[in-house]
């Protein structure tokens, strides 16, 4: 936990600008190219829906938000100047649309992007009880180290059940943590894109991502350890 890194630094300044491909796509849309519009919708539709749900809570409302976002994109197309990437621009419209809708639905969210990292006491990535205390031979060293997942078969790791645990852990996160980990780890956004869409500083984004990943890892560890213990109780278990 480095204090030099705590919130207070500027919201990211290195905005990814529109690429040549973005500009071509925008031209095609302005020219009324239906195929271009469809391919754009297909490319981002799933990510938009996943992100919209984090604000509005239900899939049905999220779908309306996505629709409304596309209408906003069409309305704004004439004003798109390429100062951000097309993707960032679309997702900013999505987040604004979703937030507005969430307010209308009576769901409230922290207004400040800093509200979340500081909410409640600092949460440890790993239960401090799993480390040796100050008077041990290795203070701060593992007392209960995690067990390797190397021998867990790939098809168990990628099973519907394991992935459902991962999804469940993500869904249970506070909204901003859920937004950041969904964008970064599920949908593969860069940190700069996340910072731009959610108006977070780089540092804040990283702190939030760390909390989110740590919680999901804990849930996964709990589940895989349980599955392992259950497996080894069976007589013919490997």
């Amino acid at each position: 936990m480095s204090d030099r890194d705590m919130p207070g630094d500027a919201v990211v300044t290195v905005a990814p600008v529109a690429s040549a491909e973005d500009l071509r796509l925008v031209d095609a849309l302005r020219a009324g190219d239906e195929a271009a519009f469809e391919s754009l919708v297909n490319r981002h539709g799933a990510s938009m829906l996943r992100l919209a749900i984090t604000w509005v809570g239900t899939r049905a409302v999220a779908e309306e938000v996505v629709q409304e976002t596309w209408l906003g994109v069409l309305r704004g197309l004439g004003r798109f100047e390429g100062r951000s990437s097309l993707k960032t621009w679309i997702f900013r419209i999505l987040s604004n649309t979703a937030k507005k809708r969430a307010v209308r639905e009576g769901r409230s969210f922290p207004v400040s992007s800093f509200a979340e990292p500081g909410d409640g006491p600092e949460e440890a990535a790993v239960d401090p009880a799993r480390f040796h205390g100050r008077n041990a031979a290795y203070p701060g060293g593992w007392a209960a180290a995690p067990r390797s997942w190397d021998r867990i078969p790939e098809d168990q790791l990628l099973s519907a059940e394991t992935l459902a645990r991962v999804r469940g852990a993500i869904d249970a996160l506070p909204p901003v943590q859920r937004q950041v980990i969904t964008m970064r780890d599920v949908d593969g956004f860069t940190s700069a894109e996340v910072c731009n869409v959610l108006s977070l500083s780089e540092t804040n984004q990283r702190v939030i991502l760390h909390r989110a990943r740590s919680r999901v890892r804990r849930a996964l560890e709990r589940y895989l350890d349980e599955a392992d213990a259950a497996g080894s109780r069976e007589p013919q278990g490997s």
């Binding site: 936990m1 480095s2 009324g32 239906e34 519009f37 469809e38 919708v41 297909n42 539709g45 799933a46 990510s47 829906l49 996943r50 779908e63 996505v66 629709q67 596309w70 209408l71 069409l74 309305r75 440890a124 990535a125 790993v126 401090p128 480390f131 290795y138 203070p139 701060g140 060293g141 593992w142 180290a145 995690p146 067990r147 390797s148 997942w149 190397d150 790791l157 990628l158 394991t162 992935l163 991962v166 999804r167 993500i170 980990i181 780890d185 599920v186 949908d187 593969g188 940190s191 780089e202 990283r206 991502l209 760390h210 990943r213 740590s214 999901v216 890892r217 996964l220 560890e221």
Partner: protein, 82 residues
């Protein structure tokens, strides 16, 4: 190496900075030196990477809605109105 050695309880809190590539060079060295001698932290780092990898698989499970008739209709309407 003037800085005190990194402990496991400290390492788990900077693992994201390590993965993001945002540790300062000397912090990164201390991190990697610790990993070289600590099996538990190696396993922990692997678990974080695995967590990220599994999260990536969740992108497969949302049916992209596609443009659908409503949106295409809206697109045509927008086109016609200009």
């Amino acid at each position: 190496m003037g800085a005190p050695e990194l402990t496991c309880i400290e390492l788990v809190e900077i693992v994201t900075e390590y993965l993001e590539g945002t540790l300062l060079p000397d912090e990164r060295s201390r991190f990697e030196e610790h990993l070289a001698i600590c099996e538990g932290c190696g396993v922990f780092l692997d678990q974080m990477r695995e967590t990220i990898r599994l999260a990536g698989h969740l992108s497969e499970d949302t049916l992209p809605a596609g443009a659908g008739e409503t949106l295409l209709h809206a697109f045509r309407g927008w086109k016609a109105a200009r």
